[in-house]
């Protein structure tokens, strides 16, 4: 059943001849920032291209906020896609690139001009707007693509490796921009190889491996479901040895290691809830606990547990 406020993949498969792109993908993507994570060839770009109609599914169906991808005149009023392809129509300046495509939306000259400048301003390219794109740096090309994808105010933004080639300052600006757009209720689908950034910006993740969805959902929720891997928790305390002696009273604690700086204990437990209750009792009995931080409910750990360290992104 298609949910009009979500992006829905219903048993979607895509084959390139005999080669598998993605297989039996069923997903419902809610608003917020969703990251597609997986090694090269895992099917991230294929999923994005299917969602935007650049590819047709071999089997199954897709609905983006209730609209089929083979209905471009409706779909692209509410969707913007910043692809990974680093190519542009020849001879265009940054402004012409954004403006010309706004005219395809049916905007008048005045509207297209206004929307183009607003989008260009948002990605900080005003000064370079009248220069030819061929002379832009990689980061500038990424930003002008982002401006083009967002210039018409879409409700869904699909970004294939949007942070590639951006310097740290611009990267932070783009992340902040994406966060603010997500807070306004926009769907943002990102693929990225940089796991700590995925971690920073994502509301939910979709982990892909060899064309299959390995896991999906909020990072914490996905981590909770991986029960065969004990949960890692860093407990900051000025008495780590005493703390270690106490935590082994519980069967579910499988490992306790004093942190490198000597001011904490890294615990591995199969039952975190039970462990947190024990920790409360320990704290009440006089061992000071400064902080408790889950150490492996991040994308990096999920990736290692579910996909493995081969071809692991940064």
């Amino acid at each position: 059943m298609s949910e009009p406020h979500e992006i829905v993949f219903d048993n979607v498969s895509k084959f390139y001849g005999d080669v598998l792109g993605v297989n039996r993908v069923s997903l419902s993507i809610p608003p917020g920032i969703t990251s597609l994570v997986g090694p090269n060839g895992s099917g991230k770009t294929t999923l994005m291209n299917l969602m935007t109609g650049l590819l047709r599914p071999t089997r199954g169906s897709i609905r983006v906020l209730g609209v089929a991808p083979d209905n471009p005149e409706e779909l692209f009023r509410q969707l913007g896609y910043c692809t990974q392809f680093d190519s542009f129509p020849k001879g265009f300046t940054g402004y012409q690139f954004v403006y010309s495509f706004l005219r395809l939306y049916g905007s008048t000259h005045a509207e297209a001009d206004q929307f183009a400048w607003r989008a260009i301003e948002r990605v900080n390219l005003v000064e370079a707007a009248h220069r030819k794109i061929a002379g832009y740096s990689k980061g500038m090309r990424q930003r002008i693509k982002l401006a083009q994808a967002t210039c018409h105010g879409p409700a869904v933004l699909v970004l294939d490796e949007p942070l590639n080639g951006l310097d740290p300052l611009v990267r932070a600006e783009v992340i902040a921009l994406l966060r603010s757009l997500a807070e306004e209720g926009m769907h943002i689908i990102i693929s990225s190889h940089i796991l700590h950034e995925v971690d920073m910006i994502s509301d939910q993740v979709i982990l892909l491996s060899a064309g299959y969805v390995v896991a999906e959902g909020k990072i914490r929720g996905v981590r909770d479901e991986i029960q065969e891997q004990p949960m890692q928790i860093l407990v900051r305390s000025n008495a780590p040895s005493a703390l270690a002696a106490k935590v082994f009273e519980q069967d579910s604690v499988v490992e306790a290691k004093i942190h490198n700086d000597g001011r904490g204990l890294l615990i591995k437990t199969k039952d975190p809830d039970k462990f947190y209750r024990l920790l409360n009792r320990i704290a009440l009995n006089g061992i000071a606990v400064e902080s408790v931080i889950p150490a492996d409910d991040d994308v990096n750990s999920l990736y290692e547990y579910l996909i493995g360290s081969e071809d692991k992104p940064r």
């Binding site: 390139y16 792109g21 090269n40 060839g41 099917g43 991230k44 770009t45 294929t46 291209n49 935007t52 109609g53 650049l54 590819l55 047709r56 083979d70 471009p72 005149e73 409706e74 779909l75 692209f76 009023r77 913007g80 896609y81 692809t83 990974q84 392809f85 190519s87 542009f88 129509p89 020849k90 001879g91 010309s100 495509f101 005219r103 395809l104 939306y105 049916g106 083009q148």
Partner: protein, 277 residues
């Protein structure tokens, strides 16, 4: 109020027009268009230099033969191939077609916009070429004779017919090569196939002849090429079953519509494969 698709077609034509007229890939189209001009210009220069007598009958036959062999079968054919085949295929090679596919534009509208942009370029280049060729052919005639030929003779009728055939050729070949470019990555295979089909078309059954551009164009030429042009040219020029202009023009347009409908169906299913992921 203008409907959205018309606005979009206009926007696409504006985006495409620079590419169709000034693409580096299409420079040879201009060379093709100029080639017959050189021949006709040379003819007039030689006639003037040698002081040979002006002969309308002779020159009109020569023009008809060269137009039907060189212009219709070579210049128009390969010129339209260069312009229309690249409308989709060229953007695939440049990896820029996805920008169109990611716009709220129906693929059919995109096809129409691109076709019109190609047609504008082809008609401008080749109709100009035809008119200039015609002018150069008779450039060695005295001005008063030419004025009389245009005013009282068949001058205007011939000129407009040749220009009309050129326009129709662009319309027909344009649709064929637009379809070929949407279907195939390698232009040589479809170009060779169309070329062979157009060449042997005269020998095909009457029904099949109608699925050819040259069939209609030959019927619309104002002068039948003379029979004394040798066996090879005769084979190319023969028009065993010509149709009246009242049938040829709508027939050509109907043929074009059919080809464009097939092309639209193909473009609607087109996927972007630049080879990433």
């Amino acid at each position: 109020m203008k409907t959205l698709w018309l606005t979009q077609v206009a926007a696409i034509v504006r985006l495409e027009i620079g590419k169709t007229f000034f693409s580096r890939r299409g420079l040879w189209v201009y060379l093709l268009a100029c080639m017959p001009m050189v021949i006709f210009g040379g003819h007039s220069i030689v006639w003037l230099k040698r002081g040979l007598p002006c002969d309308f009958g002779h020159d009109t036959n020569v023009f008809a033969s060269i137009f039907q062999v060189l212009d219709m079968r070579l210049t128009l054919f390969f010129g339209c191939l260069g312009i229309f085949m690249n409308l989709f295929r060229g953007e695939m090679l440049d990896r820029s077609l996805h920008f169109y596919f990611l716009s709220p534009v129906r693929r059919e509208v995109l096809l129409v916009g691109k076709y019109l942009a190609g047609l504008l370029a082809a008609v401008t280049i080749f109709t100009t070429s035809t008119v200039v060729q015609w002018g150069l052919m008779y450039a060695h005639f005295p001005k008063s004779v030419m004025e009389s030929y245009l005013r009282d003779g068949n001058g205007w009728r011939h000129l407009t017919a040749y220009a009309g055939v050129t326009v129709l050729g662009c319309i027909g070949y344009g649709s064929v090569f637009l379809l070929a470019g949407a279907l195939m990555k390698n232009p040589i295979v479809p170009a060779a196939a169309v070329l062979v089909w157009e060449s042997i078309n005269s020998f095909a059954p009457a029904v099949l002849q109608k699925f050819s551009v040259i069939y209609y164009l030959k019927s619309l030429c104002p002068i039948e090429a003379p029979p004394d042009v040798g066996p090879v040219f005769s084979m190319l020029l023969v028009n065993a079953d010509p149709v009246a202009p009242a049938v040829a023009v709508p027939g050509m347009l109907l043929f074009t519509m059919l080809v464009l409908v097939v092309a639209a169906m193909r473009v609607r299913k087109m996927e972007i494969h630049y080879g990433t992921d």
